[in-house]
């Protein structure tokens, strides 16, 4: 599903050169649940941004579902993000002025899904994350855990094959975090490939496999507890 070969990315912060990723190669199979683990500043978020086509690599090849991302133009990248990838962010990244239902509908609007089907799928997704009684609440009226569940519903509703989760429990208390992780853990059963980014080894344990990132390099891959 995800195939990276010799991916490198360098940033310039002032005069300083930050080598965020150096010659990273990895392969993630369909329906796999992979945790990317590493301390902050290790380059794991950069890795996720490249995986999610939010950012492009300086060098190397990235094939997503067989498509060479470097060959894609702006429109095609938008289509990939729209149809293939679902994001779950640490800060939830919901739109404040929209209620839960509208937030979940948004990716479907960009996919040009008709209004009736759109609402149906959004409600279904919210039901799956256990928020069917909160669909008209705005993010400010929801707890952190609930907001993250809306974000998961948003990723689910779009029927994305790849779910990228960047520290999804980072801003949550342990109870809510556990709920959210259970939902994410179940995503593979819905035919999703899940990449979870975390610095918390306990969270990483839930994945099928863990990739460790340090100073922009992958230095160890180890099978997790299934």
């Amino acid at each position: 599903m995800i195939l990276m070969k010799n991916i490198s990315k360098t940033f310039y912060v002032g005069d300083e050169i930050v080598r965020a990723l150096q010659d990273v190669s990895l392969h993630i199979r369909p329906n796999e649940f992979v945790a990317v683990c590493g301390p902050s500043g290790s380059g794991k978020t950069t890795l996720m941004n490249i995986m999610g086509c939010l950012d492009n690599a300086d060098s190397g090849t990235y094939l997503l579902d067989g498509v060479d991302v470097a060959e894609c133009n702006d429109r095609q990248l938008s289509d990939i993000r729209s149809l293939k990838i679902g994001f779950i962010f640490q800060q939830f990244n919901l739109l404040d002025q929209m209620n839960a239902l509208e937030n979940v509908e948004l990716p479907l609007i960009y996919q040009k899904v008709g209004v009736r089907e759109r609402i149906e799928r959004a409600k279904e997704a919210l039901d799956l994350v256990g928020l069917s009684n909160r669909i008209h609440h705005k993010p400010s009226q929801l707890s952190g855990g609930q907001q993250q569940r809306v974000a998961i519903a948003r990723a689910l509703a779009s029927n994305a094959r790849v779910i990228l989760a960047d520290e999804p429990t980072g801003n949550l208390d342990s109870k809510s975090g556990e709920d959210v992780m259970n939902l994410i853990g179940n995503l593979t059963e819905k035919n999703c490939t899940v990449v979870l980014i975390t610095h918390n080894p306990d969270v990483a344990k839930m994945a099928h496999r863990t990739i460790y990132v340090h100073d922009g390099r992958i230095y160890q891959e180890k099978e997790g507890i299934i």
């Binding site: 941004n49 939010l54 950012d55 702006d74 993000r81 729209s82 149809l83 990244n93 002025q97 948003r154």
Partner: protein, 389 residues
């Protein structure tokens, strides 16, 4: 389409959620629209009133004026004009004398017009009592007068005027007819006319020269031909093209129309500058909005929005702001016109075409001044937009 409606709905919502800012942003547009709409409507209304007044004076009528005082033409000299062409239905030389009309202790300033028997029909004047000036009056230089209702009110305080007398320029006239009320035109009240036989007027003013003649064409369609004929006739008569002029009211109307249109365009143009200033205000606030919502742009891009989606979103918001401003401006103009109408005691309305034009102009302003911020927003890369705080 659903995409578009959704965006409009969201744009309206974000406009309403930030009422004060939206209002201040729209204020420039509101003031601009009010200025444009009211100025143009008022000037259009004024033009309409003036042209109506002029055309009510008759578009089938020509006026011949002898401008050279060395040329001496008598009433009979114009008689030939009637036989000269089939386009001409009537010829009526006249002579105005201004003075004061008196009856006992009452007096009023009036302009007596020495006329021939067809003057009333050429000027669409009707009698409500008595008789008009007839050929025998001209022949015998009788001292009779046909008066308007205003004169009747001023001098006799009643409409029962037949047989009463009035004195003007030392001569006493017997009133034989009362005109129907005709109202006011630009040249003054028609109801303050005093018509006397032309020959009597000539005697009072001690001249037999006639310098002004009304000519009626057979219909307003052939007014141009009648004018050409009249000019030709006058040329033959005077042998000098510069000593007379022939003009018709529709010519005057055309000139007036052009002048008023130019003026109204000029006023509108000046007012439109304030609309452009309002547009700059919108651009400014849209730039602020893009900066404030950079994270939202990032989120939208991350979940699949294309450049076009972001572009249209901000463009629609700019247009919604300017069109809402335009609508409020129209509402204020409507109220303003009511106030102006009340103050001037006339009926003035917002011109429909001006209103539509102003709204279209607002839309264009929204697009023009929205395109730069919207384009700026759409060009952000998702990662830039998401990571910027």
């Amino acid at each position: 389409m659903t995409m578009f409606l959704n965006t409009v709905r969201l744009a309206l919502r974000s406009t309403l959620s930030n009422k004060m800012r939206s209002f201040l942003t729209m204020l420039g547009i509101i003031i601009g629209v009010v200025a444009v709409v009211m100025l143009m409507s008022i000037s259009n209304g004024a033009t309409q009133t003036i042209t109506d007044a002029i055309s009510s004076m008759g578009t089938d009528r020509l006026t011949i004026m002898v401008t050279n005082s060395d040329v001496s033409l008598k009433a009979q000299d114009y008689d030939g004009l009637l036989e000269y062409s089939d386009y001409i239905a009537a010829v009526s030389p006249y002579l105005s004398i201004s003075g004061t009309a008196r009856y006992k202790s009452e007096y009023t300033s009036a302009s007596a017009v020495g006329v021939t028997e067809n003057y009333m029909s050429i000027n669409d004047m009707e009698l409500q009592a008595g008789r008009g000036i007839v050929p025998s009056d001209l022949e015998w230089r009788t001292d009779v007068a046909v008066i308007g209702t205003e004169i009747a009110e001023e001098l006799y305080e009643s409409y029962d005027v037949i047989g009463k007398t009035l004195t003007m320029n030392g001569k006493t006239f017997t009133v034989v007819g009362l005109l129907e009320e005709a109202g006011t035109t630009l040249t003054g009240s028609l109801d303050s006319s005093v018509l006397i036989p032309l020959t009597s007027a000539q005697r009072i003013s001690d001249t037999t020269d006639i310098t002004t003649v009304y000519v009626k064409s057979v219909s307003s369609d052939v007014i141009e031909q009648a004018q050409t004929v009249a000019e030709l006739y006058m040329k033959n008569l005077t042998q000098d093209e510069d000593s007379y002029s022939v003009f018709n009211l529709s010519q005057l109307l055309d000139t007036l129309d052009t002048v008023m249109n130019t003026m109204s365009l000029m006023l509108g143009g000046i007012a439109a500058i304030s609309l452009i200033v309002g547009g700059i205000g919108i651009m400014n606030i849209m730039l602020v909005s893009v900066a404030e919502r950079i994270r939202e742009i990032g989120i939208r891009k991350a979940i699949g929005a294309k450049r076009g989606h972001i572009l249209s979103q901000f463009l629609i918001e700019a247009v919604v702001l300017s069109v809402m401003g335009g609508l409020i401006g129209l509402l204020v103009s409507e109220i303003g016109m009511k106030v102006v109408s009340h103050a001037f005691g006339t009926e003035l309305n917002v011109d429909f075409s001006v209103a539509v034009g102003a709204l279209l102009f607002c839309t264009v302003i929204g697009v023009i001044f929205g395109i730069y911020p919207a384009n700026k927003a759409s060009k952000l890369t998702p990662i830039d937009a998401l990571q910027r705080k």
